[in-house]
């Protein structure tokens, strides 16, 4: 089986985000970039799938040199080789999906894993767009996966429950938390990662369909209110939850 896993790098979730001058990008100074957490489930599933059925695993990422660092982590976790689709331009989801789909079509892949969304811009569309452009089937927000030859049975997380779906290879699977428990790269894996092939393909990005007009930070959290410490505070709490917070 030929298996791809697509990864994106995102600011460490503990980072305090600042907006850069111009108001359309984040300020990347001093920001540590990590593997998008949902992509870690995708990497693990790719490695597990190869362990089960044999074949070859490739990590693919769209971006610039800093992406190599997170690709090395995927290699350390057991992926065989990497392809960096190199561009210094800022892309929208359509742009990323276009580049990924071209690589996937030309690489003769059977299955492609990626996170259900990247935790930076959260648009949750790259997997589905890539599948469409590559002519692959797609299961998104996947929490469980079984193969029977070319047939896949997958569980998806949906609002309030789970949905079981069937489809066939080739397919794009987008990973949700719960699909597996990502392994830590072992020390041998880390040392081997350096020697695994990581190819670069310079590409020009397609023109974005979506333009970022402005970025802003969410409003600062207001201080909490303490209404009391015993049962007498309950009526006022209920009133505020209903009338002010409008949550009940």
């Amino acid at each position: 089986m030929k298996i791809a896993v697509c990864v994106s790098n995102v600011p460490d979730t503990a980072t305090k985000i600042k907006i850069a001058a111009g108001g359309k990008e984040i300020d990347k100074t001093g920001v540590t970039f990590i593997v998008n957490p949902y992509d870690e489930f995708a990497i693990e599933e790719a490695v597990k799938t190869k362990e089960k059925f044999g074949g070859e695993t490739v990590v693919i990422s769209v971006g610039d040199d800093p992406n190599k660092e997170i690709m090395r982590k995927a290699l350390a976790m057991g992926i065989d080789s990497g392809v960096l689709l190199k561009t210094s331009e800022t892309l929208d989801s359509n742009g990323v999906a276009t580049l990924l789909a071209e690589e996937i079509k030309s690489g003769d892949y059977d299955i492609v894993f990626m996170g259900k969304q990247s935790v930076d811009f959260d648009s949750s569309t790259t997997g589905q767009l890539t599948a469409q452009k590559a002519g692959f089937n797609c299961v998104s927000v996947c929490v469980s996966l079984e193969f029977d030859g070319n047939n896949i049975t997958a569980e998806r997380e949906i609002e309030g429950g789970r949905e079981v779906v069937k489809t066939t290879l080739p397919a794009v699977i987008t990973a949700q938390k719960g699909l597996n428990e990502p392994r830590y790269p072992n020390l041998k894996g880390i040392m081997e990662a350096k020697r695994k092939p990581l190819a670069e393909k310079p590409l020009s990005a397609p023109a974005p369909l979506v333009e970022v007009v402005e970025l802003s930070l969410p409003p600062a959290k207001a201080a909490g209110k303490i209404l009391g410490s015993d049962a007498s505070a309950v009526p006022e709490l209920v009133r505020l939850l209903r009338e002010e917070a409008k949550v009940i």
Partner: protein, 380 residues
């Protein structure tokens, strides 16, 4: 001079940090309280390669440099110094010594499972009457049918109740004094070999420490490590590298103390403002940060010298002397910054102090480190 870590060293540091935060931190408080050995954690660390980090892949190890080892030790000990010491003993005192001085028979039979984390090792030099004066060995081994018969008592043995393989120094020729000491590899369960009950310790309570007794314990000839009479050199050379591990453990505790103090000072208010705005707190934080940084630099220098194949004795002793003091000082200051909250278990910093103190005592007291440093200064 280049202070940049390599991509691999950074990834090892990151992996150790994530493992420590996700797998070690959740149980650290309870294991300290109940004196529970971290069996599952040590097993997982072994599977990842952290129990034989510097051993060649030929013998089942990860084949890494001492710098990577020191970085990992700091990350693990930052979260739990008890796990740190178990890892340090297996890596620096047991695996390193066996790889340097063991026969191929010993490496194949004993080093390989130790380096792969399938077995755990212990190092037995100290005795009830031999601590800093380690030459004063009372444990004795005499030639007998089928090998050597060992008699004596060893004290303060880390991993004592849990280890599978023990490196035991014993006098094989009393007339030659320290040149008559030999190292034996003794397996757990060998007839006549028993361990005492676990010591009830001030700190590193999740690691186990006990005494060992040998009564006519017969050890085969091939389980001599290096050769007859080399036991004291074996112990000293091994402890030399061990100092880097313990210094890194201490630096981890110091860093944890600083991190806790910074976090608390940003939330706790006094006199109408967060205490971080008071100069008294700022000065403490600055002093702690300098100690942490200086300790790390000394440790990495010693590790880099060792990796370059140069003499690192002085730097390793300096690193251990300085880092262990930094650990105690920083833990004390972290408690002071926390006030009453620092004196109770809920806020972790009291454990940092309890864990820190041992680093000034084991694998050579601070006084012994000064003797080592001064001896090298005055040589020639």
């Amino acid at each position: 001079m280049n202070f940049e870590l390599t991509e691999e060293q950074l990834m090892i540091q990151q992996t150790a940090r994530e493992f420590a935060e996700e797998k070690i931190a959740p149980t650290a408080v309870e294991r300290d309280l109940k004196e529970e050995f971290p069996h599952e954690i040590i097993k997982e660390l072994g599977e990842l390669g952290f129990m034989g980090m510097m051993v060649s892949p030929d013998w089942g190890g990860a084949g890494l440099d001492t710098v990577s080892y020191a970085l990992a030790m700091m990350e693990i000990s930052k979260v739990d110094a008890s796990v740190g010491v178990v890892m340090s003993v297996n890596n620096s005192l047991v695996c390193w010594g066996l790889e340097q001085y063991g026969s191929d028979f010993i490496k194949d039979k004993y080093l390989r499972p130790l380096a792969m984390g399938q077995k755990l090792g212990a190092f037995a030099l100290s005795e009830p009457e031999a601590g800093s004066d380690a030459t004063n060995q009372h444990t004795e081994a005499v030639k007998t049918d089928g090998g050597w018969s060992v008699n004596g008592i060893k004290n303060w043995i880390t991993n004592g109740t849990t280890a599978d393989y023990f490196l035991v120094m014993a006098q094989t020729n009393r007339e030659l004094r320290h040149k008559g000491i030999t190292t034996f590899l003794i397996e757990k369960g060998t007839p006549g070999f028993e361990h005492g009950k676990k010591e009830d310790k001030l700190g590193i309570r999740s690691s186990d420490t006990c005494s060992l007794t040998f009564t006519n314990t017969v050890v085969p000839e091939e389980n001599i490590v290096w050769e007859e009479g080399k036991g004291f050199n074996f112990a000293m050379n091994t402890l030399n590298g061990g100092r880097i591990g313990i210094a890194a453990q201490a630096a981890g505790i110091a860093q944890a103390s600083l991190d806790a103090a910074i976090k608390y000072s940003k939330t706790r208010k006094a006199f109408g403002t967060e205490i971080k705005n008071h100069q008294a707190i700022q000065f403490k934080l600055a002093d702690m940060a300098v100690q942490v940084e200086a300790a790390k630099l000394l440790i990495l220098e010693a590790a880099a010298l060792k990796d370059a194949g140069k003499d690192y004795t002085t730097q390793a002793a300096m690193a251990k002397l300085y880092a262990s003091k930094a650990a105690v000082d920083c833990a004390l200051e972290a408690i002071q910054i926390h006030g009453g909250y620092g004196y109770v278990r809920e806020y972790l910093v009291e454990r940092y102090l309890r864990d820190a103190k041992i680093t000034e005592i084991y694998e050579g007291t601070s006084e012994i480190q000064k003797v080592v440093i001064a001896r090298n200064l005055l040589r020639g």
